[in-house]
Each structure stands twice: as structure tokens, then as C-alpha cells.
């Protein structure tokens, strides 16, 4: 594992350096240089009080789908949420960087690099056509729930299952270009990217199932997997590094993602996103981390309903495969899908949000078969109030799911869990 991470660290230096050189305009105006001025730094963080019942959290090597878990009884505890230090130096008026360091509290407290990328945003043309580019460690533009340089959840504390998974397993090092154009009264935005170092995407989703939490993967950190059962014990490591390049030579087998966003002359935006990590499902490290060949499509819709009310919806479906072919099927062949609808409405300094979602997996692998199919749903209601730089949030979340993999630790396949969180979010 250490070798693979070292290979990623050393190997990523050259392409990132090339990307920087390519993005850097020849005539950098010294007057635009702002490295440590107050507007380049931001600190955001939250403290929360959590009341939760149900099973042990996945962060504690259980199958619980939330950030916090219990042993069945109601458990109430204070918790440090996420603290982010954002540094956005400006090199020229069109070239900047975003570096985000994070501390995430609770089970398995960890700190590290959350994002590190360069952004180029030159002036658009008189026709309105605009080009922009990013390169580095960043989240692909999938989530409709996250915003800001610190990638915080806007309307609630806990994101949907889809965007929880994006935050934990879709962590590439990418070079991305975007073109935005006006088509009469409509707007079109197209993005394409090549990426590397996301070869294990799908590991958590298969062995643990979907989850709902606001923990995100920090560079080179790893997540625990729940007990794997006898088929995979000694075959798959009991952990996964979402940011890792397994194939020999950094970016020798790059993946890609692409996105189209369209806004007709109405307050609606439609987004289509396609991801394929092109990982070799037979690649494996000395520490038994495998390549997971993963593709998914995401449909997103945002509609302004008037009076500040907004509807956001996402539907994602995909497939991930791992291991060798036996009897015509790979060890793992997991088709996964999820969808949510989120409604939000501001009332002056107040805001409320309601979300409903469903998720599931369908397994047809030779080792991981339909006995491990998962089905579930969740419902969430959140309220928030702004007090200057402080925002108070209250969130009630219920999740219900059935996953036979829980029998590996002697739990009933069907579990329900309810969590109430009160959060104080600060930003400077």
C-alpha cells in the first residue's frame, strides 16, 4: 500500500506541474498576485449534538449507515463536526488555486488535505462563450447539495446517499475543462475531464452498501470495511484507499468524466453526468486492494419554484466490477442505484429542507451474488437559522435498509436508525 501511495505522490507531481505550466498565462501581472491577503483565507467549522439509535456506525467497522452509531439504545453525545481551512491564493486575475485542509471529528477523527487544485477562468468572449479549467485533487461536479470551496452541505447537515458516496469514493486527481455558451435564451455548459488515482471506487459501496453522512475522503486516508465474510477474507484488504492508482505508472490507464448542463428559458437546469474510472478489475496491490471497474450516470435537476423555494433531484445508477472471471462472471458485479428529491424554502433568516430518497444494489458476481442485494430508503427534515457568521441547524434523519451482509456480524439484515442533530456552523 505504501508503495502505491508513494507512486501516486511522486507520479502526480509531474502531470500537476505540467498542468500548472499549461494553465499559467505568460504575462502574469504582479499586481494581481495575492497569496496571504485576508480575502484568500477562510475558516469554517461546526460543533454538533447528536442523538442516535440503531446499529454501530460503518466508521466503527459496522454496517450502520450514519456518521454516528449506537449499540441499539439511544446515544446522545457532543461531537466536533468538520473544520475546514480554505486557502485560495490568486496568482493572476484569471489563475488561482484552492487548497482545503480538513479536520473531521467523531468516530475515527482524521485530518488532511481535502482539495488541492488550480483554476483558470479567463474572460469570456463578447458572444458570452466562456472557458474555464481546473486541475488537481477535487470533487467532480456531481453533487447538487454541496457548495463552496470547502464543499459543505448547503441545506442540511447530512447529504443524500448519492452525494455521501461521491464524497467518500469518487476522489480522482483530474484535469477538467468547461465551455459555457448561450444558445439564444438558453444556456449550455459542457465539461470533460481525464483523471487518475480513483481505481478503488466501488469498494465501500459494495461491501458496506449505501450510507448517509458528511465525512469525506481526505488525500491518502483510508476507510475501514465491515467484516467481509469468508469469501473475501484474505483476498480483499479490510480497508480501502479511495485515492489510489493501482495500475503500474501514474495515469497510464486514465479514467474520464463528462457533464452537460442545460438551462432553457425557464427557471430549470438539467444536468447529465457520466463517469468511468476504466480501472482494471484484475489489478491488485501487495496489500490486497483491487481495481474496481466502475461506471455511473447521474441525472440532476434544479428548479426554482418561486419565492426562493427550490427543488433539487438526482438519480444515479452505475455498475462496478472487481476480480477475476469465474463461470462467466467476475467475483463482484454490482449494479447500484439511488435517487432523491430535496425541497427547500427560505423564510427570511430561516430555511427549511425536506428530502426523501431510495437506494439499492443488485449483485450478480460469482462470489458476491444476489444474496447481498441491498434495498433502503431515508427521509430527512432540516431547519436552519442564520445569526451573522453563525448558522444553527437542526436535522432529523431516518434511514431504513435491508442488507444480508449484516449477518456476517450476527445482525438482522433489516435495520432502522433515527438520528437527531443540532449543529452550530461558523464561518470566518
Amino acid at each position: 500500500m505504501a508503495c502505491a501511495v508513494r507512486r501516486l505522490r511522486i507520479g502526480s507531481a509531474l502531470p500537476l506541474g505540467c498542468a500548472l505550466a499549461a494553465l499559467c498565462p505568460a504575462s502574469a501581472a504582479a499586481s494581481d498576485l495575492r497569496l496571504f491577503t485576508p480575502d484568500t483565507l477562510e475558516v469554517a467549522g461546526d460543533l454538533r449534538l447528536v442523538a442516535v439509535n440503531g446499529e454501530k456506525s460503518w466508521l466503527d467497522r459496522g454496517f450502520g449507515k450514519l456518521r454516528s452509531g449506537s449499540d441499539g439504545d439511544l446515544r446522545v453525545h457532543p461531537e466536533l463536526g468538520n473544520v475546514d481551512l480554505v486557502w485560495q491564493p490568486q496568482f493572476t486575475w484569471s489563475l488561482s488555486a484552492t487548497i482545503v485542509g480538513s479536520l473531521q471529528g467523531g468516530e475515527r477523527t482524521q485530518a488532511g488535505l481535502s482539495q488541492a487544485y488550480l483554476s483558470l477562468k479567463p474572460m469570456r468572449s463578447a458572444s458570452g462563450t466562456a472557458f474555464s479549467a481546473r486541475a488537481g485533487l477535487m470533487w467532480p461536479p456531481v453533487s447538487l447539495e454541496h457548495e463552496g470551496a470547502d464543499w459543505h452541505v448547503a441545506d442540511s447537515i447530512t447529504p443524500s446517499a448519492i452525494n455521501s458516496w461521491i464524497g467518500e469514493e469518487v476522489r480522482p486527481v483530474a484535469a477538467e475543462g468547461t465551455v459555457a455558451a448561450n444558445l439564444g435564451a438558453s444556456k449550455l455548459r459542457a465539461t470533460a475531464a481525464l483523471f487518475a488515482a480513483n481505481d478503488t471506487a466501488g469498494t465501500l459501496l459494495t461491501f458496506r452498501g449505501w450510507a448517509l453522512h458528511d465525512r469525506t475522503t481526505l488525500a491518502f486516508n483510508r476507510w475501514p470495511l465491515p467484516p467481509l465474510g469468508e469469501e473475501f477474507t484474505g483476498v480483499q484488504a479490510p480497508f480501502t484507499h479511495p485515492l489510489i492508482d493501482l495500475h503500474p505508472g501514474f495515469a497510464h490507464r486514465p479514467g474520464f468524466y463528462a457533464k452537460l448542463a442545460f438551462q432553457p428559458p425557464a427557471p430549470v437546469r438539467i444536468e447529465l453526468f457520466r463517469y468511468d474510472n476504466r480501472a482494471n478489475p484484475e489489478d491488485v496491490t501487495n496489500h490486497l486492494e483491487w481495481g474496481w471497474n466502475t461506471q455511473f450516470d447521474n441525472l440532476g435537476i434544479v428548479a426554482n419554484l418561486g419565492g426562493g423555494a427550490e427543488l433539487k433531484a438526482q438519480a444515479l445508477q452505475g455498475r462496478t466490477r472487481m476480480g477475476f472471471v469465474e463461470e462467466g462472471r467476475r467475483w463482484v458485479d454490482n449494479r447500484f442505484r439511488s435517487a432523491f428529491v430535496l425541497l427547500s424554502k427560505p423564510f427570511g433568516p430561516f430555511g427549511i429542507a425536506v428530502r426523501g430518497e431510495a437506494f439499492g444494489t443488485r449483485n450478480r458476481g460469482s462470489w458476491w451474488d444476489d444474496e447481498y442485494d441491498e434495498h433502503g430508503w431515508s427521509a430527512m427534515v432540516a431547519a436552519k437559522r442564520r445569526f451573522g457568521p453563525v448558522t444553527g441547524l437542526l436535522e432529523l434523519l431516518h434511514v431504513s435498509s435491508e442488507s444480508p451482509a449484516r449477518e456476517h456480524i450476527g445482525e438482522a439484515p433489516s435495520q432502522r436508525q433515527t438520528q437527531l442533530q443540532a449543529e452550530m456552523r461558523m464561518r470566518w
Binding site: A126, A185, R189, Q263, R269
Partner: protein, 206 residues
């Protein structure tokens, strides 16, 4: 004495057409509903009288929007663009009346632009697609915007023939303007317009 009175009367008769009088202009849409934020400018045939810039003209950025959405300023005005958002803005215009860029300025910073030609200046932000606003730079002191009742009034319009020019950001006409003549002594005028729906105030950024 009589000759003097006759000369005075003749002088009054000649002066009457150019004396000030009120002129009210009403703008409605195709269904008869009043149209607000239309800019009406009166150009007397004898020549427009430009207004001297006075006071402060400001278009701020707050909550990822320009405030106000529509400004009317005289030729020669200096307009400041303070940023009250936590994010940087990159204000620009490609309009013929004033082409400019205010590259990246942060919260509580401000930039100033001198507007030296008449015309409509469409504003945008290179960072935030959804931000939009307009500045009408006028060379006539008789320039007003319609209120909620679709009415623009000139209490001191010259009592003389002239030309009314109407502009609205979403007017469905070539060049986005309409014109009509006004006769000497005319106290009211009206425009019936067709408007495009305003673009949705949604971000395309992600």
C-alpha cells in the same frame, strides 16, 4: 405704447411653444398590463439638454446580485461598484456605450468606471453567470423610468415637438428600443410593448 404691447404679446405667443409643461408616458404590455422599469427619454427637436453629473452613482454587488438592477446616469458620470459579497466578482460589459472589465475584487473593495458616451450598458460578472444589470447612460435631462403603474412623468418637458425613445431590457424589438414623435402641446403618450420573459436568475456554475 400700443406697439409695445403688441410686441410683448407677439413675444409671448412665440415663447409659449417652448415653455415647460408636464408630459406623462404610459407603457403597457400586449395584454394591457403596466410595464415597470422601462426607460423613456425625450429628445426635443430643438435639441436635448444634457444633465450635469451630480451626486454618487453606485451599483453594488450583494447576495450574488447587482443592486440596483437598473440605473440611469448622465453622460460623464462616475459609477462605483462596491462588492459586499464574501466572494470575488469580475464585473464586465461588452456594450458599445462602455466596454470595460473590473478584474477580481473582493469583499468591501470597490472600483469606479467613468461613463462618457450615451447608450445602454449591460453588466455581467465573469465568475457568476446569473448576475445581470443595466446602466442607461443618457444625454437628455428628460429621462425617466416607469413606475409600478407603467408611468414615467416629465414635469418640465418643453412644450415643443420632439421624439420619445423607449428602452426596456426585455423589449422584443430590433435594438431593444421603440420611438414615437410628440407634438407641441401634447401632454401624454403611450407605448404598447411586447416583452421577452426575463432570464431565470439561476446559476449555471457548478
Amino acid at each position: 405704447m400700443v406697439r409695445g404691447l403688441l410686441a410683448f404679446a407677439a413675444g409671448l405667443a412665440l415663447a409659449a411653444p417652448v415653455a415647460a409643461a408636464s408630459l406623462t408616458v404610459r407603457v403597457v404590455d400586449s395584454s394591457g398590463k403596466p410595464v415597470r422599469d422601462a426607460v423613456v427619454t425625450l429628445y426635443p427637436a430643438s435639441g436635448a439638454r444634457p444633465l450635469k453629473p451630480s451626486g454618487r452613482y453606485t451599483v453594488s454587488q450583494q447576495n450574488l446580485q447587482f443592486h440596483p438592477f437598473l440605473s440611469i446616469v448622465p453622460v460623464g458620470a462616475d459609477v462605483s461598484f462596491p462588492n459586499f459579497d464574501n466572494t470575488k466578482h469580475h464585473v464586465y460589459s461588452f456594450s458599445a456605450a462602455k466596454r470595460f472589465e473590473l478584474k477580481l475584487f473582493a469583499k468591501d473593495q470597490s472600483r469606479t468606471v467613468h461613463f462618457d458616451k450615451p447608450g445602454v450598458v449591460a453588466l455581467g460578472c465573469n465568475i457568476h453567470d446569473q448576475m445581470s444589470a443595466f446602466i442607461v447612460v443618457t444625454d437628455s435631462q428628460w429621462t425617466a423610468r416607469t413606475n409600478g403603474q407603467g408611468v414615467a412623468s416629465f414635469s418640465d418637458a418643453p412644450n415643443a415637438p420632439g421624439r420619445l425613445v423607449l428602452w426596456h431590457p426585455y423589449l422584443r424589438t430590433p435594438g431593444g428600443t421603440m420611438q414615437q414623435q410628440v407634438a407641441s402641446g401634447q401632454r401624454s403618450a403611450g407605448f404598447k410593448v411586447r416583452l421577452r420573459p426575463p432570464p431565470p436568475a439561476m446559476s449555471m456554475d457548478y
